[in-house]
């Protein structure tokens, strides 16, 4: 991994999002208008294809670089399926399936959902597919099979998450994929787990931004003759939040470093659990610090907090991943836990 490349990507992404991901754009997106202009800029910058191999037209970077973009997208509450497209590009690339331009989504978003791939034809229903209506293509995983389809093959029923991001139902009936491949690596790290990874990455970014906003506000807002950030009660809760943000961030970093290895399930489960738990604390603390102004539609805290409340519940909430980890730890037995943990950093 190159730290230089990561910081370059981060700065470039921050600049690009700051320029294009405006309040008006977010509001239009929430009203149902896909921000094509923003997407085009992201695609032109090569961000959508950082995980696609170079000989397939991408930049052939790894998950630590993708993490930088996931976080930036989260920080700016960007209403585009960059995370899903990154993930789809990675899976298509490793299966040598040509990556189509434009946003690509992923399905299903719950394990054991009702999709079947029989004789190369896809049938069934996938619920809460991110940006299903806006993505031109969808990457579908069924068992160890991956398939790429045009979303025009599906009947789309729109819905949204709490932040107004599309979470649509896609119904397929004997649909013909553009390509199908066998991907045995999905049996060790599933699409569901990888979905949890990208959401955890976005959460880490949104956490960072909500902390930064709360700190800024605490330094600016004057009550009782001084900035509220001078009050110990406010300092203590923001310090607690900073710890949560740092922990979520560390967990996500560990998961992204491991993501390309055959068995990344443990670190991903830890990351989604830890980030989702921090999300609840961040929303509570950021809103409490901001007082009534943070509760208005006009003020730009809610694009972060409504996403955090949504994202923490997507691809498994903290209790879901905690239960997975608990069953794993208990199944191996008490004495095996410590050696397992230390082996992961050896």
């Amino acid at each position: 991994m190159s730290d230089d490349l990561r910081s370059y990507l981060g700065e470039q992404a921050d600049r690009l999002f700051a320029d294009h991901c405006t309040r008006e754009l977010r509001e239009a997106a929430e009203a149902g208008e896909f921000p094509t202009a923003l997407w085009d800029v992201l695609e032109q910058a090569g961000f959508a294809a950082v995980l696609v191999p170079e000989d397939e037209g991408g930049s052939g970077a790894g998950w630590p670089e993708a993490e930088v973009l996931l976080r930036a997208a989260g920080r700016h509450a960007a209403p585009v399926p960059l995370a899903e497209t990154l993930l789809a590009g990675w899976l298509l690339g490793r299966n040598r399936i040509a990556v189509p331009p434009g946003p690509i989504t992923i399905a299903p978003t719950r394990p054991g959902a009702g999709l079947s791939l029989v004789d190369g034809r896809l049938s069934g229903t996938a619920e809460r597919v991110p940006w299903g209506r806006a993505a031109g293509n969808v990457l579908v995983a069924v068992g160890n099979q991956v398939a790429l389809l045009e979303t025009t093959q599906a009947e789309v029923e729109p819905d949204t998450n709490m932040a107004g991001e599309p979470r649509d139902t896609l119904r397929f009936a004997d649909a013909a994929p553009l390509a199908v491949a066998t991907d045995d690596a999905l049996t060790t790290t599933s699409l569901w787990q990888l979905g949890a990874l990208i959401r955890a990455g976005q959460i880490a970014g949104a956490l960072q931004a909500s902390l930064a906003m709360a700190v800024q506000y605490a330094n600016d807002r004057v009550q009782f003759g001084r900035p509220i950030g001078k009050f110990q009660a406010v300092q203590q809760s923001l310090a607690e939040l900073a710890g949560e943000v740092a922990a979520a961030s560390a967990a996500v970093g560990a998961a992204c470093e491991r993501a390309a290895l055959p068995d990344a399930g443990f670190e991903i489960a830890v990351a989604k659990q830890r980030a989702s738990e921090a999300a609840g604390i961040a929303c509570r603390t950021a809103h409490q610090t901001h007082g009534a102004i943070g509760f208005t539609h006009e003020y730009a805290l809610h694009p972060l907090t409504r996403r955090l409340w949504s994202w923490r519940a997507e691809f498994g909430n903290d209790a879901h991943w905690a239960a997975e980890l608990g069953r794993f730890a208990c199944g191996r037995g008490a004495d095996a836990l410590w050696p397992f943990l230390t082996d992961r950093t050896a």
């Binding site: 310090a239 740092a246 209790a319 980890l325």
Partner: protein, 382 residues
């Protein structure tokens, strides 16, 4: 906000080789050591055990060889201490000397002090306690009133130190005294001293903790005469020196592993086929533990890179102490067990001990409130 980023560290093969040696040693030495004793973690005092560690070459690991050290990396040291903590080894006797007193002497001490004391520490023969808090000075450490008065050939110490863990079993204290009562700022005019605890005029008496255990002490200095050679570093520089010492005190894995034995007992109690609520409770604990370990290891990496881990250490200590305390709550909530020292059950015994000592976790080495104040300043507040 660099201190809020915890870069991943992958341990080198040399550290992992050392881990194997330490595990083998601990397996041999602690075979039947009971869970209730393991739960004492780094507060379990056993001078003979420390001596064995000294013989094995695992104390003063990072120190120069000329002072009895072993010139190994901070990452290797990290591995040794995390293995001790995970196993619940009784490391208290040498812990303070290895963690902070030795490093303080290496950094600020005189050549004579280093040569006199460090080889004995590294051999597992010399134990230290911390002389910071006083009856009226806890979190407000700079308000200390114990005095060091210059004499013709040294210093005269008077005053009272409290909460001095294991003073009754230690050879030396590094004590913080006010050496210049006329200094304008309370942070100035403070100095650190290397105090042999057998010096006449020192009276050590127990302050039993809430369970009735004796580890705390009150240490009274009644005109204790010390030579010039007792001064550590420069007179009046004690505050800066003690802040550096506290960074060592706050940065290690003992700040999140104090209740590891309780997790072990919870997993055992939940069986290999746990119910949903046990799985959720244990899994959440495992997720926090794995994350804290990554963060803590990152601090060892910072130390190795010569960086100052003071702020990062405060973040991990605050998170870690909250995690340790929450774990006793988790065990209580999720397992219908009455905590009791007389129980046949290990979970019950371990929970009885840790429930009662848990309040100290967010007090010792800097309270939660002090740490969060440091973190808030790091965020740019106040």
């Amino acid at each position: 906000m660099n201190a809020f980023d915890f870069e991943s560290v992958t341990l080198p093969a040399s550290a992992e080789a050392l881990r194997g040696e330490v595990r083998e040693f601990l397996g041999r030495e602690l075979g039947n050591y009971p869970p209730r004793k393991r739960a004492e973690s780094w507060t379990g005092f056993d001078g003979a055990f420390s001596k064995k560690l000294g013989d094995a070459g695992w104390i003063g690991l990072t120190w120069p060889k000329q002072y009895g050290g072993h010139e190994r990396s901070y990452l290797e040291r990290y591995v040794v201490i995390e293995e001790m903590l995970a196993a619940g080894a009784p490391v208290a006797a040498h812990w303070i000397a290895d963690r902070q007193s030795g490093p303080t002497l290496l950094r600020f001490g005189t050549e004579e002090q280093r040569q006199r004391v460090l080889p004995k520490i590294a051999a597992g023969d010399c134990f230290f306690c911390i002389g910071m808090s006083e009856p009226d000075s806890g979190s407000d450490l700079a308000s200390i009133r114990s005095r060091a008065t210059r004499t013709d050939n040294g210093w005269l110490l008077s005053g009272t130190k409290v909460w001095t863990s294991n003073a009754h079993n230690c050879h030396y204290m590094i004590g913080l005294f006010r050496s210049d009562p006329k200094a304008e700022r309370k942070h100035d005019g403070i100095s650190q001293f290397l105090v042999p605890l057998d010096t006449p005029g020192i009276q050590i008496s127990p302050i039993p903790d809430l369970i009735g255990q004796h580890h705390f002490n009150q240490v009274v200095f009644d005109d204790v005469e010390l030579p010039d050679t007792a001064l550590i570093g420069e007179a009046g520089e004690g505050w800066r020196q003690v802040m550096a010492e506290l960074a060592f005190e706050r940065a290690g894995p003992e700040r999140y592993l104090s209740t590891y034995q309780l997790l072990v007992e919870m997993i055992a109690e939940a069986t290999q086929d746990p119910g949903e609520r046990h799985a959720v409770a244990i899994g959440r604990t495992v997720a926090h533990l794995a994350t804290l370990r990554r963060m803590s290891l990152s601090i060892a990496g910072q130390l190795q890179a010569g960086e100052d881990p003071a702020l990062a250490g405060s973040i991990v200590k605050d998170l870690g102490n909250s995690f340790e305390q929450a774990m006793t709550g988790t065990a209580y909530d999720q397992f219908d067990v009455e905590p009791s020292f007389g129980s046949d059950g290990d979970l019950s015994q371990v929970l009885a001990f840790l429930t009662q000592v848990a309040p100290s976790f967010s007090l010792r080495g800097g309270t939660r409130e002090i740490l969060r104040g440091i973190i808030a300043r790091g965020l740019g507040l106040r």
